[in-house]
Symmetry: C2
Subunit: 330 residues, 2 copies
């Protein structure tokens, strides 16, 4: 018997022959998710998630999301293929919901923040990190270190509000030396295409007032208790991943090694417009995802769906992201 909508929804075990539900199920547009954001306000779930890695406490902090049109998102794939991949992942068919996930680590007596989110200069649906830090009981004035992975605006703008005030006034700010060298180089800014000049200016807005105090770190070294900086360049010249280890457990925070993993882990050769050196980014992505699949290493991502941690396994020509199973803290 051929499977048709009619036979499916009127199948005896559904108890639905002729029911209102059968009509409703058919009326549903098959192209997107039915899940919709809930308005902010009382009763909304706080956007933080705590988990453990050995003796380290990790808190994923939700900075909200932004919608990015699928058209023009990927330089080396047909829009139809991108739309199909989005549909396969039950994501919207027109735009990708990109989540931002700063991460707080409590290690060696230090409170360490990885990346600062969008602050007050991003999309209206982003910039929620401060509120969610507060919900998680983390006081921004008590953050000891902010480790910056790279200098794209959605990672650094949350360091300084539009009014110029520092959001983490007592934190040491640590940045990758190669990233600093690139973006703070005025000759690079002059040579950049017009569309990219704003990014250079944004870097100066955030880091200019504290330039002499910013601490630059090198790849391949332990830069904070249990935290090693890893060369993951390509996305930007100094894009850095971080190895975390405690009590025999490890996790790699791969940051922007992929954008949404349902697209870019599944299709690791796709070049998002965000990748400044697409070929180098692809090589790093392939190598690190392959290692993570082989070693079964837990990963954290900046742009995976909240709480943005899980594993990858090989699937077809790419990798499937398997989120960690949520556990309640209450």
């Amino acid at each position: 018997m051929s499977v048709t909508r009619r036979t499916l929804v009127s199948a005896p075990a559904m108890g639905l022959a002729g029911s209102a539900l059968a009509g409703a199920a058919m009326a549903q547009a098959p192209s997107g998710s039915t899940n919709s954001p809930v308005a902010a306000g009382q009763g909304g779930q706080p956007g933080f998630y705590r988990y453990k890695l050995g003796d380290i406490d990790i808190t994923a902090v939700h900075d909200g999301q932004a919608m990015r049109p699928l058209e023009g998102l990927i330089k080396n794939a047909e829009l139809a293929d991108v739309k199909k991949a989005a549909a396969d992942a039950f994501l919207p068919s027109d735009a990708l919901p990109i989540t931002f996930t700063p991460m707080v680590v409590r290690s060696g007596g230090k409170t360490i923040l990885f990346d600062a989110g969008n602050g007050d200069v991003g999309a209206p649906t982003a910039g929620k990190a401060r509120a969610n830090l507060t919900a998680a009981g983390i006081d921004p004035t008590k953050v000891d270190i902010v480790i910056v992975s790279h200098f794209h605006g959605d990672h650094i703008n949350g360091l300084r509000l539009k009014d110029g005030s520092a959001v983490y006034p007592n934190a040491e700010i640590m940045v990758p030396a190669p990233e600093w060298a690139f973006w703070m180089d005025d000759s690079k800014m002059s040579a950049a295409p017009e569309a990219m000049k704003g990014a250079f200016q944004g870097v100066r807005r955030v880091f200019g007032p504290i330039a002499k105090d910013v601490k630059q770190f090198e790849w391949g070294k332990e830069i904070a208790p249990g935290i090693t900086a890893i060369d993951a360049s390509g996305h930007t010249p100094g894009h850095t991943a971080f190895g975390l280890q405690s009590a025999g457990k490890s996790l790699i925070h791969v940051v922007d090694l992929t954008n949404h993993p349902r697209l870019f882990a599944a299709h690791p050769d796709w070049a998002a417009v965000f990748d400044m050196d697409a070929e180098k980014a692809k090589t790093a992505r392939r190598r690190m995802l392959d290692m993570a699949a082989t070693e079964r290493t837990q990963l954290a991502f900046y742009h995976a769906p909240f709480p943005a941690t899980g594993h990858v396994r090989r699937e077809g020509q790419g990798y499937e992201f398997v989120p960690v199973q949520w556990v309640s803290g209450t």
Copy 2:
């Protein structure tokens, strides 16, 4: 070049040759997830998640979890195959973490609870629904209707505390007529194997004091605003799924059509020990998952990882569960 652990962790793009992380990554046991539950207490994330379906507000409520040994869990599969499926899903290798997810729906001016969780008679890591309802701003005394899917303890014990008090004292209690007929039949209890008598007694503990007020419903009918009862029997004689519809959107709450979908949607023919009529359960599971994959219908599950909602797509001989992308309410 053959891919070995050494080449992977010492690859140039990782910047890790000889670093401490390389050793740590290799020390990590490859057989399980590194994610660990965080102790309850201040700062733990509340276990509720709100989402929309048309004009209906849905709140998934986390009732905690319980570990079920893999050995003896599945009647028609080898333990080695079950362990492999758990490993593929990055779940623990010895026991399955089973999540419990009551669901609150606000529809047609009514506050409706689907299933009540473990109450105070389940595993120490379960019975969190009341605390999480409170965290979500839902007052148990203001719940208008409790719809019960079936009479297993993890769904009904939360209706009445050990001390005999009703947890939802002002709610109408609605149950599937075929489920009531089976469990309240004293001849069925007498004929049941000794190991099953406790389940019959549990049903009497919960429903005995209110037996005359319990409202029985039939399959294939709208039983509350926008909510249709669907025959999903097999798991128990009266196990019921629920179709929800609002403003052209639909969702099916499939309850215990599967236990953990990473095992039982992926392997729909596996018979968990919980299924009272395994063959009938399998037929219902196959039919409803296939319909959901074809129609791209959003599903809610009682035992999927929190927040226990997503879609299924065909994958190999079974179905892959794709969780809905989390959206913050704050």
